[in-house]
Symmetry: C2
Subunit: 216 residues, 2 copies
């Protein structure tokens, strides 16, 4: 079991936020010293999603806002011993991702656009997870999994910009969001160096994304 | 490994075609005598997709036009011994599905809308595969996986009708298909009891559905 955990990181220089993910440095062979996805082994008494949550917590101490099965990777040559890995992907809000990782020099956050070569086939797995994230953000409300409970339209737009890798027109974005009818405006405003911006929340009655009819 | 294999079956009475799938009757415990999805065990020297193709051919002798990983099912209680099953789903064209199954009373086609209770969690798996089929037919050209090389617009429409479970307006359907620009009209016509209908083929340059950036 491995998990690709995405979060966002804002930069002070006003650049697009980065999509970031935590990696774990391997302390034994194969691929000793290389960075790899956090993961672990499935216990005999554990469901797959529970194992993904557990290994994610054990290696990174993070609590995800979204968790979904990505794919089962099982190519014969992907590891010296034949290993089929069931991979999940997760979203973590930036405020949670900002809490320090376990005091371990072998766990660190990386920019998804500037990864070192990863162990096993984990480059391919991250590429596929990024594709799923970009794809799914287009037809679901999964962007909310990267936001706190209350957020401004500019903050929501930045999530789409970070995932898509390009700036969006603020007026067009506002029109699209207003038209979708999925956001609930609150009476609160974000104040600070800019003019006050209204805070929104999303409708909790609706799932972030449709993961099919599988029972939860 | 198991595979949910979908095909279509036309009826003589002019009813909507049925979505059908082959099942295999179990000849040993657990669940002896119950119907189950075709499948088998992964060989140590075999990639996952190769194993799905092989077990599909061994149990049903069918050649699929489309094959995609569905999901890894691994709930602790799904089988007496802990078994994680990586499930694929496949499409088989109706003309291929019409060739006789292996001379084995333990393999048979069933209407997806009238299944017997299945072994293990295979009811849930079929439900999820049907959801994926219905979902994917809306945003990909996967319907072509159920059609022969040349087909009329009425035949294409019937695929959508069978999967969606309801009749579609022929004029609206023709407009949508014409607007999509994905079909190539040929100079051939289907003749018979009705007035001649033009035959179309689909553009082979485009994949039936986007299965992500995974190398094939």
């Amino acid at each position: 079991m491995s998990t690709v955990i995405f979060s966002l990181r804002h930069h002070e220089d006003g650049e697009l936020p980065s999509v970031v993910l935590p990696l774990v440095r391997r302390t034994r062979d194969p691929h000793e010293g290389q960075w790899a996805l956090p993961g672990g082994w499935l216990d005999a008494s554990e469901n797959l999603e529970a194992a993904a949550s557990r290994t994610l917590a054990e290696t990174t101490a993070l609590a995800p806002s979204y968790l979904e099965q990505l794919y089962a990777f099982g190519d014969v040559g992907r590891s010296p011993a034949r290993v089929v890995s069931i991979v999940y992907w997760a979203l973590v809000r930036e405020d949670i991702a900002s809490t320090p990782l376990p005091a371990d020099e072998n766990v660190a956050w990386f920019d998804a656009a500037a990864l070192p070569p990863l162990a096993f086939d984990h480059d391919l797995i991250v590429e596929y997870a990024l594709w799923r994230l970009r794809n799914k953000v287009g037809y679901s409300r999964i962007a909310h999994g990267l936001l706190p409970e209350l957020f401004t339209l500019a903050e929501l737009r930045e999530v789409y910009e970070a995932i898509g890798g390009r700036r969006l027109d603020p007026a067009n974005f506002r029109r699209q969001v207003d038209g979708s009818g999925t956001l609930i405006p609150t009476d609160d405003f974000r104040t600070g160096s800019h003019r006050p911006a209204r805070l929104y929340r999303y409708n909790h009655d609706v799932e972030l994304a449709d993961r099919g009819p599988l029972p939860r």
